[in-house]
Subunit: 150 residues, 2 copies
């Protein structure tokens, strides 16, 4: 099982904006620094703005910035918004009801409970936990920046 590229890019954008929390950043600089296409970024930025994680400012001096303090952006919450709705781990019964056992299968419930345990772990973390005191990340994204507690 893999997280989608969309989810991956969403976290990448949020981490980038968190490290540069003192200024507006541009889509093109994230694309250049993070090895991602601008078209991929554009879609995800729209969603991040709709969900209230980013504030975007149009125009020549425009750009992106976090819409909330990084400590208020939950990793589990972002993860759930970007991954497919419903169960994190779907079986054939969840997908298309093609499994004949669907009405009685305890595996489905076991997977749903295990997915809850997965989410509960991510729910303990915020964007600040991913970024703050992580000099190696800062070195990659912004060698000159210095990120303290947000």
């Amino acid at each position: 099982m893999r997280i989608t590229k969309r989810t991956n890019i969403a976290f990448l954008i949020l981490m980038y904006c968190a490290i540069h929390h003192d200024r507006l950043v541009t889509k093109s600089e994230i694309a250049a620094r993070c090895n991602t296409s601008e078209s991929h970024l554009a879609q995800v930025i729209n969603h991040l703005a709709q969900f209230g994680y980013l504030r975007t400012q149009r125009g020549r001096a425009g750009g992106l910035t976090l819409a909330r303090p990084m400590a208020d952006i939950g990793v589990g919450e972002v993860f759930r918004r970007f991954e497919a709705p419903g169960a994190i781990v779907e079986c054939l019964g969840d997908i298309d009801k093609s499994c004949p056992l669907v009405a009685a299968c305890r595996l489905r419930h076991a997977l749903a409970d295990a997915a809850e345990a997965f989410h509960a772990h991510l729910d303990r973390l915020t964007l600040a936990d991913l970024v703050c005191g992580n000099p190696a990340l800062v070195d990659i994204i912004a060698p000159q920046a210095c990120v303290g507690k947000a």
Copy 2:
């Protein structure tokens, strides 16, 4: 994220064999009852036998049976064997190192820890927990059978 069809079929075969634990079952009856192709079943049966979950007997009177008591077949263990090796939830950094943050990204570790929580939940269950005292499942798979504790 979805479990693979292979994993789904593996559990379906194990549950079928568990309900019919008092006799050999055939590939064709599982295919007919469980809405699955025989070719799909054949591959998964081979793996289940290699992993020591099934015993197969060739010949006209041959068939499949569980190689261990159902209470000794761990759900988490089967799940791990059939899903891709490594992290249950892979990010781009895990897959092809295309993410530039890979060396410093705490999201990878958070996902790995969350996956551990996921597995820990499944590790508490055995095949017996999926099958025993589940009359609705028995009704679907084998209306005449009666499954008690194995």
